[in-house]
Each structure stands twice: as C-alpha cells, then as structure tokens.
C-alpha cells in the first residue's frame, strides 16, 4: 500500500483553479519533489496534504486511511494527521535552546520526561546538533537552524514529512551543502518526504521522483535522470535544465527515429534532422526539437557526408566558465546554445558546424 495517495484533487480560490485535478502515489521512504514555477499549484497541493486547505474535490489517504475526502465528508485536522513540516521560515523559537525547540513537540504530546529526553537526544545526534543542545536558537547559523527545524519535524516519528522550500533563504554555498545533507538524513531516517521547490537543480539533486507541475496539472512524474533525458513536453524540457527548442514540421518515421524539417533561414534549404520521439506524429504536423547544449558537438571543419544531423551556423558569443565553455551559435533563425567541456578559441562571426546524435534529441508534439 502506498504511504500517500492523492486522487482527483481539485482546489479553487474564487475563480482561479490552483490545483486542477491531480493523482499521485508515494511509496514508503520515497523522497518526492513537487516542482514548478510559482502559481503551478505545488504549494497548494502540499497545504491540502497538511490539512491547511480544504480542497474542492478529491481524496488524500495516508497508509490507506483517508485524511481528506470531499466526497466522503472526511477532514482530519492538521494536528491529527501525524505529519512533520519544515518551512522556509525556520519557525525556530529564539528564546528556547536547541533541545527545548526539538522537545517541544513531544512535551505538548504529553510524552514522559524520560522518553522526551531519549527521543530528543537521539534525533539531535542524528542531525549532528548534539553538541549544541544547550545553545539558544539565536546563536545558530542558518544551516544549524535548518537542522533544528528538521529535527523538530521528525522527532515524533511522523508518517510523512512535508517540506516547503526550506532551503531558499540560505546562501548559494550553504544551500548546495544542505541539499546533500538533507538527502543523507532522509535516507538515514527512511521517512517518506514530500518536498516543494521551484529550483530545478534542487529537485534533480535530492529526489527519488520529481513531479513537474504547471497550471495546476502534473506535466510529468519520473526519476530525475528520466525527466532530464526524456522530457514529456516542451514545458518540462525548458523548465528542467537548459534546452534548445526548435520548431519544425514532421516528415516521416525512420525506424526508431522521427525526421522533421526546420528552417535554416530564408536563403538556405531547410534542415532535415532526426531524433527520438513523436511516435504518433503525422506528416507536416508541427513538432518541437528539444536538444540539450551538452549533447551538441561543435566542429570547425565540415563533418563527413555520412553524419546525420549537421547544422551550419555562426558563432554569436562565447562565455568561458572554466569547466565549461558555453557558445551561442546562430543557425538560420535559431539561436542554439552549445556547452563544451574543453576549450576552443572561437570568434564572433566564425563559421561552425554542429552535430548531435539522433538518440540524444527528442521531437515533442506539444
């Protein structure tokens, strides 16, 4: 039985549909991220799970037990759901010590003094704060406060922990470090986690599965590698990582690959390019080619005739970043970003050839 099941969830605010009907199952111990731009419905979904919003339709079950069901008229209050929460604002009490902050949730649950002591110490050990137990929260760094917030959320062994952009207040370096630490902790505690963020890098690094949302609907659910390599549509391709998107017209299928035609400018003949995807496209249907900058190879000389997918263009600009050289190349009306992991001296206006493997690009039909 999945730990969390969401069925047909709909939530409106006045005329605005925040969540437009979503279904989702989350297994025990999974780390699932709801990812999307602001207004996509990710936070509203999380708040519905927490019991902070009354949905208009749908059912949410935890370990098979409905905690919200509009149809069955069930609505458990937030405190009866046994969920842990970690917010962006740490919500750590400044006038309490680290220990008291974490123990607070147990005290109000009337746990015995001894058990409170044991559980609190154990969880402080786990998040690496045992040596700071007697310190006041005001004396903590941002990363340490984050750990207190997490310790407090997991101390009473909730069934699920909900995270609402908990790292977005931290500076870049600390954020990157905390991502990895949070995942490590989550694995150690083996607690089912639902994490909301608008930061795609965070989602890729942390999640077992990513739920990409837009306009209240789920666009794709998959593990990070699949989402990145095989985006379901142009929105996902562009929201996760960087993708070159070129609009063209479908020609035909060639085995596993589809072939489509793309403008190469007013004077040049159109380009015929091959890629995966568009399995059910018909001739002259509008398609979008999605191509990652790191999957493109740049050549100074024309590749041999036998190579498929050759684009001829002119260098617009380069940006050197050390481990990568990013180059913008104008191919007819398309500006294509290329990411190289080795250095090449390139001048604006220089003629270059771009190639890519058909299996590393995707034709999308929406």
């Amino acid at each position: 039985m999945p730990t969390v099941e969401i069925e047909g969830l709909i939530k409106r605010f006045g005329k605005e549909v925040a969540v437009a009907g979503i279904d989702l199952k989350i297994e025990q111990g999974e780390f699932v991220t709801l990812l999307g731009p602001s207004g996509c419905g990710k936070t509203t979904t999380l708040r519905c799970i927490a019991g902070l919003e009354h949905p208009d339709r749908g059912e949410i079950r935890i370990e098979g037990e409905p905690i919200t069901s509009v149809e069955k008229n069930i609505f458990l209050s937030p405190e009866d759901r046994n969920l842990g929460m970690v917010f962006q604002s740490y919500a750590v009490w400044p006038h309490m010590t680290v220990f008291d902050n974490v123990a607070f949730g147990l005290k109000i649950r009337r746990m015995s003094r001894r058990e409170t002591q044991e559980k609190t110490n154990k969880v402080l050990e786990l998040v690496g704060l045992a040596h700071l137990a007697e310190r006041y929260a005001t004396k903590l760094s941002g990363g340490q406060r984050q750990r207190v917030a997490l310790a407090r959320a997991i101390v009473y062994s909730p069934r699920v922990v909900l995270f609402d952009e908990p790292l977005s207040n931290l500076d870049a370096k600390l954020r990157e470090q905390m991502r990895i630490e949070l995942v490590r902790l989550q694995h150690e505690v083996d607690i089912t986690s639902i994490y909301v963020t608008h930061d795609q890098a965070e989602a890729l690094v942390m999640s077992d599965r990513v739920v990409v949302m837009n306009e209240g609907l789920i666009q794709q659910i998959d593990n990070p590698e699949e989402i990145y390599a095989h985006p379901a549509n142009a929105f996902v391709a562009n929201f996760i990582g960087v993708a070159n998107l070129m609009e063209g017209s479908f020609l035909s299928r060639l085995g596993e690959m589809g072939e489509a035609e793309f403008s190469a400018g007013a004077e040049a003949a159109p380009m015929r390019l091959r890629a995966l995807g568009a399995e059910s496209a018909s001739a002259s249907q509008r398609v979008i080619l999605s191509l990652r900058p790191e999957d493109i190879t740049l050549h100074l000389e024309a590749p041999s005739e036998s190579v498929a997918n050759v684009l001829l263009g002119q260098v617009v600009d380069t940006v050197y970043q050390g481990n990568f050289l990013n180059c913008q190349v104008l191919v007819g009306p398309h500006e294509i970003g290329v990411q190289m992991d080795h250095f090449v001296q390139l001048e604006p206006g220089q003629k270059v050839y771009l190639t890519f493997e058909p299996e590393h690009a995707l034709l999308l039909t929406e």
Partner: protein, 368 residues
C-alpha cells in the same frame, strides 16, 4: 615615454602600500593594453582593493609608479601624486552610491553638469548611456524606486557618461542575488566591450573573473600569484594556491619522478602504500625529484568500469549528485577523494567499483 602601438595603457610598477606594519600591497607590477578588461582576484585581505584605491588616487602608496595613457598619475620616487578628481576615472562600487533624491536621468547627468557641458550635449550623452545600460523605461523614475540591478546599471551609466580614461569596479555585483548577478556579468562585459574603456575590476568571485575578464591577476598577501587569460589560469595554474582558488581541482601531494621539457613528465603519488606514477605536464619551477602537487580538474578525471590501458587507480564511488548536464561524483582511493565530473549516461552509482584515469594533457604537476 614610450607609447608605441604595443605599449600598455595602464602601467603599474613596483607598487607598495603599508598600513602600519601590514604590507597590504607588497611590490606588484602589471599592465593592461588599451580597451582591455583586467580583474584583480583574491580573497579578502589580498591587496586587490588597496591596489584599486591607489589607482584611483584614494590611497597614497609608499612606493611605486602608476601611469595611465602615458600620463604619470603617481610616482613616489618623483614626488608626483595627481589628485583623484584630476585622474579622469569612472568608478562603480558595491554600494551603488547613487543619489536617492534624484531621478535616474539626474543621477546620470550630474557628472556632466558639474563639468559644465552644454545642455544639448548632456541630453545626447545621457540618452546614449541610458540606452547602453538598458534603462530606457526608467529615465524619470526616482532612484529609490529602482531594484538593486537597476541601481547598479544607473551607477555604471554615471561612471561612463563622461567617457573616462579608465573604469574601476570594486565588487559591483556582490550585493545582487545569484541569478541577477550571473546576468549582470554578461551585461557588464558587453557594455565594457561596446564603450571600449580600459577597466580594472576587483572581485573575490572566481566564476565572475573567468566569465568577464580579458586578463586575470590572482593575488594573495599583497603579491601576485599568477596573471594571464582566464583559460591559461584555469588550465595551467602555477601553484596549489591558484589551482585551488580558481574552479574546482583535485590536489594531491607527490614528487616529480620524471621531468621532460618537450613531452610529458611524470609525477608519483601515493595512498596507503600504493605508489603510482602518472603522466602530466610539468609546471614552472619544477625539476626531477621536486616536491610537487598534482592538479587536475574534475572534468579531466574519468571513472571507468573497465581497467583502462595505462596507469589507473581503483576506487569506490561514494557520492553521486545528478545535476542534469553532468554527474558530480566522489571516488574514494585510499584516503583521497577524487572529484569526478561524469556523464549521466555512464550511470555511476554509489558503491560501484571504478578505475580512475586522468587526461595526461590536462594533468599538471605544480609548485606546492
């Protein structure tokens, strides 16, 4: 005074500046060709800002000469010290230092007004720089209504409107958030390129320096550690300090076991009783037998499932972080953790046994 076609526009010779006992700048020399963008890069306290202040005339050095466009700005030996306002320099600081009670247009036209320019010329020039920095929609707005990025554009416009002989930047982007900072780097570089004013830029942010500069000077403790183009500094660091400060590097101590002036040299490294000699390029100042540090970037380290031909090290993948276009991996070899930038299609997983191979052409033996 030589001012031939290859001569340098800004020349600094043996600059020294003490604050009490503290040698903030400890005898440095460098120069910049006209129109180029030079970055002074280093951690706080390395002397980069003090150097900039000496160029601006806001600090009087203890020794040395500063020349701009053939004109002597400062020469302690010849007792010459041009006042800051006579140096014809534009400056952009971290704090935007724009006037809150003025509009964008007033802020930018102010330097022209105090110099008694004709009203029609003021208007032309102000409009030109406003377009250049992309503030067309903000002309009549009060400075207080601007975002951080817009305030910094205003400060830049004000600095270039007089067409100064030199532009000085003191960490101008460090108050902006990461996304905006990344965009402004490219914008600033474009604008500098367009106006062609020789620029000196101070930052502690190595990514910023790599992206923006024609030349970088890496500083530490008042001295120059290395200078050169971004690629040269990144790919051919002179010593451990530079390698570590710029980008990410695998650094492991060893000894030069074979020195060659023409082809590849070798460096011997050890971990837990395992000794291995790896082909590498020999950095400056090293000979056979020298104590050295192996320096190699994560993108030039490969974690392979099969043992490759040539020298390799066997280890275990202990961490993988998927970042979309690449996989950031750590491989344990003895007590050393190799940082590897792997391709996601290699599907490395924690616990995998792998063989580490280095690209010899991108492996350096450098000074410790």
């Amino acid at each position: 005074m030589t001012n031939g076609e290859n001569s340098n526009y800004l020349e600094i010779e043996n600059l020294v500046k003490y604050f009490g006992e503290d040698r903030a700048v400890d005898g440095i020399s460098f120069d910049i060709p006209e129109g180029k963008f030079l970055t002074l890069l280093g951690p706080s306290g390395c002397g980069k800002t003090t150097t900039l202040m000496c160029i601006a005339g806001l600090h009087k050095p203890n020794a040395g000469e500063i020349r701009v466009g053939g004109k002597l700005f400062t020469s302690m030996e010849k007792r010459i010290f041009l006042a800051p306002e006579k140096r014809d320099i534009g400056m952009v600081f971290q704090s935007y230092a724009i006037w809150p009670h003025m509009t964008v247009e007033q802020n930018i036209s102010y330097p022209l007004e105090v110099r008694n320019f004709e009203p029609s010329e003021i208007e032309d020039r102000v409009m030109e720089v406003i377009r250049l920095v992309g503030l067309e929609d903000m002309v009549g707005k009060d400075a207080t209504q601007l975002s951080g990025g817009q305030q910094q554009r205003t400060a830049l416009a004000r600095a270039i409107v007089c067409q100064p002989s030199l532009l000085l930047f003191d960490e101008p982007l460090s108050n902006l958030d990461l996304k905006l900072r990344e965009r402004m780097r490219l914008e600033l570089k474009r604008i500098q390129h367009e106006v062609g004013i020789t620029s000196v830029y101070v930052t502690h942010d190595q990514a910023e320096a790599l992206v923006m500069s024609d030349n970088i000077i890496v500083m530490s403790k008042g001295r120059i550690e290395q200078s050169g183009g971004p690629h040269a500094i990144y790919a051919r660091p002179l010593n451990r300090y530079v390698s570590n400060f710029i980008g990410i590097a695998n650094l492991i101590e060893g000894r030069v076991s074979r020195a060659s002036n023409s082809g590849l040299s070798e460096i011997e490294i050890s971990q837990e009783g395992e000794h291995i000699s790896l082909p590498c390029l020999l950095g400056e100042g090293l000979n056979e037998g020298s104590e050295a540090v192996l320096s190699v970037r994560p993108e030039n380290v490969h974690a392979l499932r099969e043992r490759p031909g040539g020298p390799s090290m066997e280890g275990e993948v202990i961490q993988t972080v998927f970042l979309g276009s690449y996989l950031d991996c750590r491989v344990q070899w003895g007590n050393f953790e190799w940082k590897v930038q792997a391709h996601p299609r290699e599907h490395l997983r924690e616990g995998d046994r792998v063989h580490i191979r280095l690209d010899a052409d991108h492996t350096m033996a450098v000074l410790p």
